[in-house]
């Protein structure tokens, strides 16, 4: 089933000829309390273009996207669709005008099946009853288009983060909108899926649809976007045709400075007594894993989504018990019964999904950061609030988390800053082995460089880091050594000297 055939159906709203302005925002502003998230922004969207929004974490990209999609209402400013002013009280009204959005924070309904999620709101029905067979068949078409190969009747609760992301994209396709807003759709996708999505976006453009793409991945932006709008501190900075931009220009636009990360020094650690040694480890989703981690080493784990990377990390963090195999930590047997036991031994995990496993969303930044380090905050069973506040303030400063106060609820932070809170929580435990599962998800270029520098600083102090990333280039930039996983096995172990993205990809894919 090709995309073209799928998109033949009636789309919501009239179709404009490519290049004409179909949506215009004038002087849009939105404040949360005293925090001006979007400040007098004007822009337009054209038919058949891919329009990228770029900017630092907290720059206001998601907020602007939500204003377009009717999820939020602007304090000031106007929206025009096809030249006439519109007002969207809610997302439904925007959908009726042909505007649909995939949110940065995923919102699939876990209790529904995959098919029900894809067709949520547009379920095929017969005499008012849901038409089950037709539903599966229709859903499957959209699933195929986005490359999510799971049975339509599977429970959504069983999907990984990346699969949920694809599911949401399938859902907006099913809504058949003419303006499709994708807020960081690739931040949790593997390289191959991300490439597939680029093709999909290209196909949507060919079909005359408009795609708004919010992304921190500049290669992706340069590859697919026709125009790029940059925001900084809620204000519009510029809108440029993509062909006039390059990677460095984008960095300068977004951060207002040149981000320089010193080139990685090749460091070889083999020969030193290992910190962590994993032998023939088996467990749920894991067939056979061998791993050696040295003091002060940054070890990357690459591979496709579902290749067992997250499962391995969860076993190391004590979240899941292995069924066989051995683990040694600092020369002693390591078999944590729960995350608390692993934490006590100095092994700390930044989990894959910040919303589900990382954060207590309605709680404050302080309450989140202090949680894992509670044992060190006060004597015996008693808690020292003052010490916790100092700790939180210290990490807010260290990681440059953009927040008005440590008492702000985490769900009022931008996505990237939420991710930094998870990182702060884990670093506050002063781990000896730091496990990072997609740690740079949703983080802007500047912050990525900061985190990379931070990781190197930790490694220089002798802390060992294991980092899972779906972005191969990121592994090559940061790691001393890279282990590749495929089908629940560790299949390659490469010193990061003279290897390329292709080498890693070949290992990850090879049958």
């Amino acid at each position: 089933m090709s995309l073209d055939a799928l998109l033949e159906g009636d789309i919501a709203g009239p179709m404009a000829s490519p290049g004409t302005v179909i949506l215009r925002g004038e002087g849009l502003s939105k404040a949360f309390g005293g925090n001006q998230a979007v400040d007098q922004v004007s822009f337009d969207l054209r038919a058949g273009e891919v329009h990228a929004f770029v900017g630092e974490n907290g720059a206001g990209k998601s907020t602007l996207a939500k204003l377009i999609a009717g999820v939020l209402n602007s304090d000031e400013g106007t929206l025009e669709v096809d030249g006439s002013p519109v007002h969207f009280p809610g997302p439904h009204d925007a959908q009726a005008a042909g505007i649909a959005m995939v949110h940065q924070e995923l919102s699939v309904v876990s209790s529904l099946s995959v098919a029900e999620n894809v067709l949520f709101g547009v379920e095929p029905s017969r005499w008012g009853w849901m038409h089950r067979q037709k539903m599966s068949a229709t859903a499957r078409k959209y699933l195929d288009v986005v490359g999510l190969h799971v049975p339509p009747n599977l429970s959504t609760a069983r999907l990984s983060t990346a699969q949920r992301q694809l599911l949401e994209i399938a859902h907006v396709l099913a809504l058949n909108a003419r303006i499709i807003i994708l807020d960081e759709p690739t931040s949790s996708l593997a390289t191959s899926d991300a490439h597939h999505l680029r093709e999909l976006i290209g196909a949507l453009r060919e079909a005359g649809r408009t795609v708004v793409l919010v992304s921190h991945d500049f290669d992706e932006v340069l590859d697919v976007a026709d125009r790029v709008t940059c925001l900084r501190d809620g204000q519009w900075v510029c809108t440029e045709p993509a062909e006039t931009l390059d990677h460095d220009k984008l960095i300068r636009l977004v951060t207002g400075r040149d981000v320089l990360v010193a080139p990685r020094e090749a460091r070889v650690h083999t020969g030193e007594a290992p910190v962590l040694e994993v032998r023939e480890l088996t467990g749920p989703g894991l067939v056979h894993a061998d791993l050696v981690l040295h003091p002060g080493e940054i070890l990357g784990i690459g591979g496709l989504v579902g290749s067992g990377r997250t499962e391995l990390m969860r076993i190391l963090a004590g979240d899941v018990r292995p069924t066989a195999g051995s683990m040694m930590l600092f020369g002693e047997s390591f078999a944590p019964s729960a995350p608390s036991a692993a934490l006590k031994r100095g092994v700390s995990l930044v989990p894959e999904s910040r919303k589900e496993q990382g954060l207590i969303l309605h709680a404050t930044v302080l309450q989140n950061i202090e949680l894992a380090a509670l044992d060190s905050l006060g004597s015996g069973p008693f808690f020292r609030a003052g010490a916790a506040r100092m700790l939180a303030a210290e990490y807010v400063e260290k990681l440059r988390i953009k927040v008005s106060s440590v008492h702000a609820p985490v769900n009022s932070l931008s996505g990237g800053n939420q991710q930094k809170v998870v990182l702060a929580k884990v670093l506050a435990t002063q781990p000896r082995v730091l496990l990072l599962d997609e740690p740079t998800k949703g983080i802007d270029v500047g912050a990525k460089a900061e985190i990379l520098t931070l990781m190197r600083g930790l490694a220089a102090q002798g802390i060992s880091v294991v980092m899972v990333s779906s972005v191969l280039q990121e592994l090559l930039d940061s790691c001393d050594r890279i282990v590749v996983m495929r089908g629940g096995r560790t299949v390659g172990d490469l010193e990061n000297v003279d290897i390329s993205e292709e080498d890693l990809a070949r290992l990850a894919f090879a049958g």
Binding site: F32, D233, H362, A363, D375, F382, S405
Partner: protein, 341 residues
């Protein structure tokens, strides 16, 4: 103020400046609301209800409220971890009956005997709590169903103990627990103050309090952050059971008898106090001060109506309305709070 200016402040100083404001705005608003409603109610009753604004009556309200409020301290911790305890009424009956059974044959009841009776009641409550905790934490049965089962089971056990007959206690030091005074203050009120103090220390001054809020907020995030969730669940239900046991002891002291068939539906009064007090049934959000004001509001409401000789049915209807209003107002405050922050 733009974001840049904000982030240039050192976090420590901005923390200090906004702390007071943040606490006032989001955390205490509900308490203020409750306090306002309470004052309004007191003013109205002062005018229309005979004998309402007398020292005797006000202390009496506090005394009446104290038993519900003591159980509500435990219930607050349970609801904070997104649990529920429906077995409270049965546990009050069971623990009070056990204490009464211990005392009933004695001719003279001294301080030692009273202390032993209190201990028996508290341990009996803690035992039921342990059972609840095991069923929920170890077997993974949802709290609603687990405590529904113990509600029935414990009641049956209490009735079995005495063949459903009340057990009377000779008047003496034991009834002093329920009806006596120290200075001007009724004894149960003082015990309530002590229990609230313990609850406050637990939730706000101890590490376990932070963990209770965390488990209710997001259990898997809490687990990954090193919280031993099963242990915590056990602890919370045992603590709640102990509070309930103490409440049962005071109740039997006040009535000078153990009532194995009494206190049916008592858990709903307790849950109502907690919920009106602003603790979210979804877990992770709530305060003990709210629970106190919630219990007091419901208690004062009923007291005034009784003084005015209004039929008790009206009391039930009004209590229902108060619960709904409290939840709706709380929702509005919360939405405002999350927008403003």
């Amino acid at each position: 103020m733009t974001m840049t200016e904000k982030s240039e402040l050192s976090p420590a100083s901005s923390t200090r400046r906004t702390r007071g404001a943040a606490r006032l705005s989001s955390m205490n608003l509900h308490d203020f609301g409750l306090l306002g409603a309470l004052l309004l109610l007191v003013c109205v009753y002062a005018i229309i209800a005979p004998n309402f604004l007398t020292e005797f009556n006000l202390l009496n309200v506090l005394r009446q409220v104290s038993i519900v409020a003591i159980a509500a301290v435990g219930m607050t911790t349970v609801i904070l971890i997104a649990g529920i305890d429906l077995s409270v009424g049965s546990t009050v009956a069971f623990s009070g009956t056990l204490a009464a059974l211990f005392l009933t044959e004695r001719t003279e009841i001294g301080v030692i005997a009273v202390l032993i009776a209190v201990t028996i009641a508290v341990l009996a409550g803690a035992g039921v709590g342990l059972l609840n905790g095991l069923i929920i934490g170890l077997l993974g049965v949802p709290a609603f169903i687990a405590t529904l089962a113990t509600l029935t089971g414990v009641r049956g056990f209490a009735l079995l103990l005495t063949e459903a007959k009340p057990v009377s206690v000779p008047v003496g030091d034991y009834s002093w627990l329920g009806t006596g005074h120290i200075g001007p203050l009724p004894v149960p009120v003082l015990i309530m103050a002590l229990v609230f103090f313990i609850g406050y220390v637990l939730l706000s001054r101890m590490k376990i309090g932070r963990r209770i809020y965390a488990v209710g907020g997001n259990e898997s995030a809490a687990r990954l952050s090193g919280v031993r969730v099963t242990r915590l669940i056990l602890f919370v239900y045992i603590f709640a059971g102990a509070c309930t046991g103490l409440a049962g002891c005071l109740a039997s002291a006040r009535l000078s008898s153990g009532q194995p068939a009494g206190f049916i539906g008592f858990e709903l009064d307790v849950i109502a106090a907690v919920v009106v007090g602003g603790t979210s049934l979804m877990g992770g959000r709530g305060r003990l001060s709210g629970t106190f004001f919630g219990a007091l509001l419901i208690g004062v409401l009923g007291n005034g109506l009784t003084l005015m000789d209004v039929q008790t049915y009206w009391k039930q209807i009004l209590t229902g309305i108060v619960i709904v209003v409290a939840i709706v107002v709380d929702g509005i405050i919360r939405r405002r709070g999350s927008q403003a922050s």
